[in-house]
Structure formats: C-alpha cells, structure tokens
C-alpha cells in the first residue's frame, strides 16, 4: 500500500465533506447527524449492513436528497446540489451498482453522451470514437467502441461507466458496489483504474461489502450503523474481525464470553430438502444445502454474501445456471416457483410489503389466497372451510386483530408477518424458508415469531432461517451454513454455534479469534 502514503502526505485538503447531516422520512431517520470527510486523492471505504444509511449518505453527496439538517461542503464551501446532474457538472461522478448507461447505444456514444465532439455543428463520430478509444486505452481497457453497450459483459459495461466518469474531469468518483457483478479479473482492472485515479488526485468513495476488496484498495474507512457513524479511521488500523464487529454492532470480547445455547444434534434422517451445486454466476457458486425434518438451518453471511439469492434460487424465483433442488428425494423442475410450492417448498420473502401481503385485502383473504385450489370444489370456494381454516390459524399463530375481516395494512409488522406465515402454512409445506422474518417488527413480536419457528420445527417441518441479527441466527438455528461471496465458506454445528464463532466465520477463517478479540 505504498502508493497511499505519498499522496496522503502531499495533499490533505478535504474535497468533499458532510457535516452533521440528518435525513428523515416519515417514521424513519435514515441519517442521524452523520459526518463524513473525504480528502483529496483519498480512497475512502463506506461500509455498513442493510439500512445502515450508506445509500442515503451517497444520495446526499450527489444531490438526490437534500439533508433536513447539517450541510455538504465542497472544496470547503457549503453547497447545494439540486440533482445528480448538478453534482456531476461540479465534478462529482457516481457509478452505480446497476450499470446506468444506455444499453442500445454504442460504447463511445455512452461515454460522450451530452458532450459529443462536434465539427461544423454536427457530431463528429470519427473524433468521438477516437477519443473514446483513447480514454479506455489509458485505463487498460481495449474494446470496439462502436459496439452497442448491451453486447458487452456486465463487467466491461461497468468499466465503460468508469471511463465516462473519469472523462468528465471528476474530482470525486463515488462507486456504489461497483464489483457486485464483476469477475475477479475485471475487479483487478477496476482496481488499477482506481489507483490511477488516486495518483491523479481524484478522491474515490468506495462502497462494498467485500472485505478483501476494502482492505486491498482503501486507505480510510467510515462505518455506518442504523443511520449513525460508528467508526471512522485508517483502514490499516482495523482487522477484518473488528470491522465486521463494528458493522454488526457486536463487541467481540463480549461475544467470546457468551455461551452458545444448546443445539440439538439432528440424527441421520434423510434430508427433506437437498440442494446440490446451485450455480448462478456471478452471485452463487456451487451452493450445497441439506435440511432435515425438524431442523432449523441458519444461513449466515454479510450483506451481499448470497443469502437471499440462495433462497430465491432454491425456490426457482431467480434462474440458475446449474444445480438441483430435491424435496423428499424428488427433484423439482428448475425455474418454477409453482413447482417448488407444489413440492412443499415455501419462501417467506424479505420484502413482505412488495412480494407478499396484499395490504388492501382482509386477513382472511390474504391467508386463503394460496390455499384457494385446496378449498374449492369445481372452482367454487367453500366459504365455510375457508373460515374454519382462517380462524384456526389466527388462533394458532396468535394474530391480533379485530377479526378476520380487518384489512392487513392496518396490522402491525409482526402481525402482518404472521398472516404471511399462515398463508403458507395452510399449504402444509415440508420446508419453510424464512428471509429476515423479524425485520421491522417490535421486540415482543420478534420473540413470538422466534417461538413459532421452534414450534414448527418441533412439528417436523424443515426450516431455513436467514437473518442479519447474529443472536437470532445463533439462538434459532441448530446448524449455521455461512456464505461468503456466493460460496459456502463455513458450517457451524452443535456446540460451535456461537456468536463469536459466527463473527469469525463471517470475517474469514484467516483471523484468529484471540487476536480479533484483543482488537475489539
């Protein structure tokens, strides 16, 4: 990291600063007096788990949001960017996770859109193509600039986005998860470009949850959690484990002290869910997973490790390149959520508001929805049987509402989640995948949902539990499969299922726990 030193000593002026910025939405404080200082030529990592406020901070920096409190300073002066275009004109370029270029247009047209070189008042394509090739060449990217963007791989498209950003004379380049769709070799090229930018005195804000990348490229790091800055300092002063601990808000030393709860050893009954070699380039690489009846398997991993992606691939919601999913030994048709549900596989999605409940329907209608075929005879729904089913589940799951006809949108988050659960339980599934089942619901309801999970397991259901909360995974699971960068990195079973062990597994095996604990 020698190249970082020279510049850090030469230039110390902050180029872009956020001072005590607060961003509020109805009911949520996305940023709570967050401060952030970016020095000229610095490569500054911005990290945090889901909902930590990274995106909000980026939106404040690029003029998408105007802070409700605090201010943004650019070159020492308070500024106000009305939109991304204004920030871009001032020299702040952003590269988004999803490539934001025009797929139908050529590489050169994308790079020069809005500032095409002209000759006699008309666009000079020869000159434009020449300049575009020159920009790309300088950063070590060789390609046909007249090819339409969509004919390129995602990684190369991302490079084109970088080329556009740098050719705009940017002083600050913000990269939001730029490597999420890149191959290892492409990441290498991106890093080379970032180092070149750094040598030219361009500051880079680098958002990623791939720890290796952060340590490889960044000099400074700011960690956000729940809309607050929880750590800021030199990257070199942290270990992976201490960075993960800061992101998750866990005290490493305390985690080590804590005893793991007892976990049942599941005997060698054949697995009810058997996943083999699930491949979805570049997000999932050869995922194997077994779930036995009555077992709760936790999926551990940091944001972006591939937990939800695994759930969606198993269900057939997202297409996969390779791999098999079998329920009770019978392989299910790939890419068909309907077939998965038919086989007894059910997913409670992370985003229940958009992917699950229908807010304007009643509790009864929401529950009965998936079970309609079972409740009807010759296409006519039996009201009596539906009512019986609904009242049974409302009692069993303890859904608190004025009655089965109350609209679901009027319920609390916890009760909405129970309605979703009831809907799928009426299908009498064999395997239930729960993706963040307790997100956004209050403490009491959380405990109820957790008890419910245990109860379902006791009844012989196989469960897969995905949660960002360490204690939830540790206490709720019999076994934890840890994902990292779309691969199975580790598996914890029996007495080893502890918060400390999980933290260690999340950060990567290389770090010794004793050393990590000493840092924390």
């Amino acid at each position: 990291m020698a190249h970082h030193e020279t510049l850090a000593q030469r230039v110390v002026d902050p180029v872009l600063e956020v001072v005590d910025a607060t961003v509020r939405f109805p009911g949520v404080t996305a940023l709570d007096e967050v401060s952030f200082t970016l020095l000229q030529g610095q490569i500054h990592a911005l990290v945090g788990e889901n909902g930590a406020g990274k995106s909000s901070l980026i939106k404040v920096l690029t003029g998408v949001y105007q802070p409700d409190g605090g201010e943004v300073r650019y070159g020492g002066q308070p500024v106000r960017f009305d939109d991304p275009a204004a920030a871009q004109r001032a020299g702040i370029s952003t590269i988004y996770q999803e490539v934001n270029l025009v797929p139908l247009m050529s590489v050169a047209r994308n790079i020069f859109l809005g500032r095409e070189p002209k000759r006699l008042g008309l666009i000079d394509y020869r000159e434009m193509n020449r300049q575009a090739a020159a920009v790309l060449d300088r950063y070590g990217i060789g390609l046909d600039v007249t090819a339409p963007l969509r004919s390129l791989g995602l990684g190369v498209q991302q490079m084109v986005a970088v080329a556009r950003a740098v050719s705009l004379d940017a002083r600050v380049v913000i990269m939001d998860e730029p490597t999420s769709s890149l191959e290892a070799k492409e990441v290498e090229t991106l890093f080379r470009v970032i180092r070149l930018l750094h040598e030219q005195g361009v500051a880079v804000v680098y958002v990623s949850h791939r720890l290796d990348e952060l340590f490889a490229i960044c000099d400074e790091v700011t960690v956000l959690r729940d809309g607050r800055t929880v750590h800021t300092g030199r990257m070199g002063d942290l270990t992976k484990a201490s960075l993960v601990a800061a992101m998750l808000g866990r005290d490493l030393a305390a985690a080590k002290q804590r005893q793991g709860t007892t976990h049942r050893e599941i005997d060698e009954t054949p697995p009810v869910l058997r996943v083999r070699g699930l491949q979805r380039t570049p997000v999932l690489h050869g995922i194997d997973l077994d779930v036995r009846p009555g077992e709760v398997v936790g999926l551990g991993g940091l944001l972006g490790a591939g937990r939800s992606e695994t759930a969606r691939a198993v269900m057939g919601v997202d297409p996969v390149d390779r791999g098999t999913v079998a329920v009770d030994g019978t392989e299910i048709r790939r890419g068909s959520p309907g077939a998965a549900v038919g086989a007894g596989l059910v997913l409670l999605p992370e985003d229940r508001r958009n992917e699950g409940i229908i807010p304007n329907l009643s509790i009864r209608d929401n529950i009965v929805l998936a079970a309609l075929p079972r409740l009807s005879r010759a296409g006519v729904v039996s009201d009596r049987r539906a009512d019986e089913l609904v009242s049974t589940f409302m009692r069993r799951l303890g859904i608190r509402a004025s009655g089965p006809h109350q609209k679901v949108r009027e319920l609390s988050g916890g009760n909405q989640q129970k309605v979703m659960l009831a809907r799928w339980l009426c299908l009498q599934p064999k395997v239930l995948i729960l993706d963040e089942p307790t997100r956004g619901i209050d403490v009491g309801a959380k405990a109820e949902i957790r008890d419910l999970i245990d109860e379902l397991a006791a009844q012989g259901l196989g469960l897969v539990l995905i949660s960002s909360e360490l204690d939830e995974v540790v206490e709720g699971s019999d076994r934890v499969v840890v994902l990292r960068d779309g691969r199975i990195a580790d598996e914890l079973a029996g007495d080893v299922v502890t918060e400390a062990a999980l933290l260690q597994a999340l950060a990567g095996r290389a770090i010794d726990l004793t050393e990590a604990a000493a840092d924390g």
Binding site: D82, A86, R89, N100, V102, G142, G155, R192
Partner: protein, 352 residues
C-alpha cells in the same frame, strides 16, 4: 432554464483541480472484452430489422410494376408522392416521439386544426395562412411536452386529451364547415409544383432529410435515443430529459399542423373532420419502419419507407378497382401485424 444550472453556477471554485499529466497508457490492455462483438446471427437480425421496411418497399414496388403497368407511370407515382408527403411530415415528428419512448395521439386532430387555421389565416395572406397553424401546432405540442416531461404525466393520456381538444377546437372555429382558403397565392402552395411534383412533396423530403440529420448528427438526437433507451440513465448522466421531450412533442405538433395547412391549401379549404385516425397511420408507418415502439432505436429512412409502403399498398388496392377502402384497411392491418411479428422475432434474436 433548468433550476439545476443555478446550482453549478453558485459552486465555489473548490480545491485546485488536480490535473497532473495524464497517466501513461498501460502497456497492454488488461481487459480484452471477449464478448465485444455481437454474434453473426445477432448482427444479421439487427441489420434486417433496420432495413426490413426498405427491402419490403423495393419488393412491393417491383411486384407492383410487374403486375400493374400503370403503377410506374409518371402520373401515378407523382400521385403516390403527394398523397404520402403529408403523412411523412407527421411521421417525422412521430419518429422523434416514439424513439424518446413516448407516443402522440393528437397528431390527426392537430392536422385538422392546422387546415382550419390555414383557412382562417388566409384572410391575411399566404404567410399568415402557413404561420398561424405552424405556431398553434407548436404551442399545443409544447404544452403537451411540458406536461409529459416536466409533470411526468403519461404521454398516452396527455395526447389523448390533446386529440379531443384539437378536434373540438377545429370544429368550433370552423362551425363544422369547410374553411375556404382565400387568395390564389395560398392555394398555390399546395396545388402547384415543379418537375411534375407538388411543393408539399419537396417540403416533406426536406423535413425528412433534416429529421435524419437531427436524429443522427446532433446532441439533441442522441438525447432522444438515450431517453428512450433508459430514461433513468439519461437523467443520471446529466441530460435535461424534460427539455428533450418538450422539443419532440412541440416539433410533432408543428409538423402536423403544417401538414394540415398544406392539405387545406391543396384542397382549397380546411376540413375540420380531416385526418381522423391519422395518428394510427403515423404510428404504424414509424413501427413498420423499424423504430422500436418501446423507444431507444429507430431511423428516419425506415420511417420514410414505412410511409411509402402503406401508401403503395393503398395505391395498389385502388388500382385493382373493385376493392373498397375497407379492404385497404384490412390489408394494411394484416401487413402491420406481420411486420410487428417479424420485428418482435428479430428483436428477440438480438436479445434487446
């Protein structure tokens, strides 16, 4: 001007822009993108899609010449030209709008209003007879564009309202009667010409030509492709999306009204009931010409070929003689369907 410009002007100078010498070019590019070139199949599909209407036009014209000796006669060809020149004017604007990802349903009504206004303005001479419709069409289009671009309302609804409004205005102004064009000079524009072709044909050719240049060789044209291709990306890349849309709809309005005025000049009066359903013919011509209805791709030459294809089919059916105008609609409809199906297939081959 947009408010966003203010932000950048108020901006402090900031730190001195670090402008060291450009980094040396790396010895060897590290990314040699392997998938740079679309496959042969994809390229063929792309070329076919861009030129399918032109190819069909040549085929149909050849077949027509062989089957009907009268088709290639000078009189008939000049007839085809004048009959399609006005649709071509409207279709140029429609091409801009569709490439930007929008649609304009108001063109037929604005066309009729243009004819009526030409009659109204002809009392003050030929210049007013042309300028009045042009300006009113421009204003209607600009207003629609403002609602679509600035208030982000759906083009379908905004221009449907425009369709009702302009037709109503045309009927109200003319009291539902043909509006005579006064003065010989104002009628000359539509009725006379040179080299056996009426003036509107030359106007249409000039507009199609300039349209092609604007589309392909100006920043404005590129902005339309970008907006139609990915509006969000265009906005994030700093384009003033609403302004580009406003200009596209304003152009379409002006051209539609101008075309209406030219027809009125040719017929000697502006009919408030003229050009009913013309918006559908214009959209059909543009789509047959290879422009994606979803926006982001298209050519002016394709649009011209689309207009002529529809026109020649109509001409051929007239030559057969015993087929009514309804048959022509049936054939045009079937033809449009075939072209769209073929395009859909070609689009999928290119994995657009």
């Amino acid at each position: 001007m947009s408010g966003s410009d203010v932000g950048s002007r108020d901006l402090p100078e900031g730190p001195p822009r670090a402008s060291p010498p450009l980094p040396p070019a790396l010895d060897e590019p590290t990314v040699r993108a392997t998938s740079v070139r679309p496959g042969r199949r994809e390229r063929l599909a792309g070329a076919l899609q861009r030129n399918v209407s032109l190819g069909l036009l040549v085929l149909v014209a050849l077949a027509a010449t062989l089957a009907f000796p009268d088709f290639a006669s000078r009189a008939n060809l000049s007839n085809v030209a004048i009959q399609n020149a006005l649709l071509a004017l409207v279709a140029v604007g429609m091409t801009f709008v569709i490439i930007s990802g929008g649609i304009d349903l108001s063109v037929g009504s604005v066309f009729a209003l243009g004819g009526v206004l030409a009659g109204l303005g002809s009392a003050w001479g030929p210049v007013v007879a042309l300028l009045l419709p042009l300006l009113v069409g421009l204003a209607i289009g600009a207003f629609q564009g403002l609602l679509i671009g600035r208030a982000r309302m759906a083009p379908f609804i905004v221009t449907l309202a425009g369709l009702l409004f302009a037709r109503g205005a045309a009927l109200a102004i003319s009291d539902q009667l043909p509006m005579p064009i006064q003065g010989e000079a104002a009628r000359m524009v539509g009725q006379s010409g040179v080299a056996g072709l009426a003036y509107p044909v030359f106007i249409a050719l000039a507009v199609v030509g300039s349209g092609a240049v604007v589309l392909n060789r100006t920043r404005y044209g590129q902005s339309l492709f970008a907006i139609g291709g990915s509006e969000e990306a265009a906005r994030l890349m700093g384009l003033t999306v609403w302004r580009s849309k406003l200009i596209a709809y304003a152009t379409t309005g002006a051209l539609s009204a101008l075309a209406g005025a030219l027809l009125a000049s040719r017929l000697g009066s502006g009919l408030p009931t003229a050009a009913q359903g013309m918006e559908l013919n214009a959209i059909a011509a543009v789509v047959i010409g290879g422009t994606l209805l979803t926006g982001g791709a298209g050519t002016m030459s394709g649009t011209l070929a689309g207009v002529l294809l529809l026109g020649i089919i109509q001409n051929l059916i007239n030559q057969v003689g015993n087929l009514g105008s309804y048959t022509q609609q049936v054939v045009s409809g079937a033809f449009l369907l075939v072209v769209v199906v073929v395009q859909r297939y070609l689009t999928r081959e290119q994995r657009l």
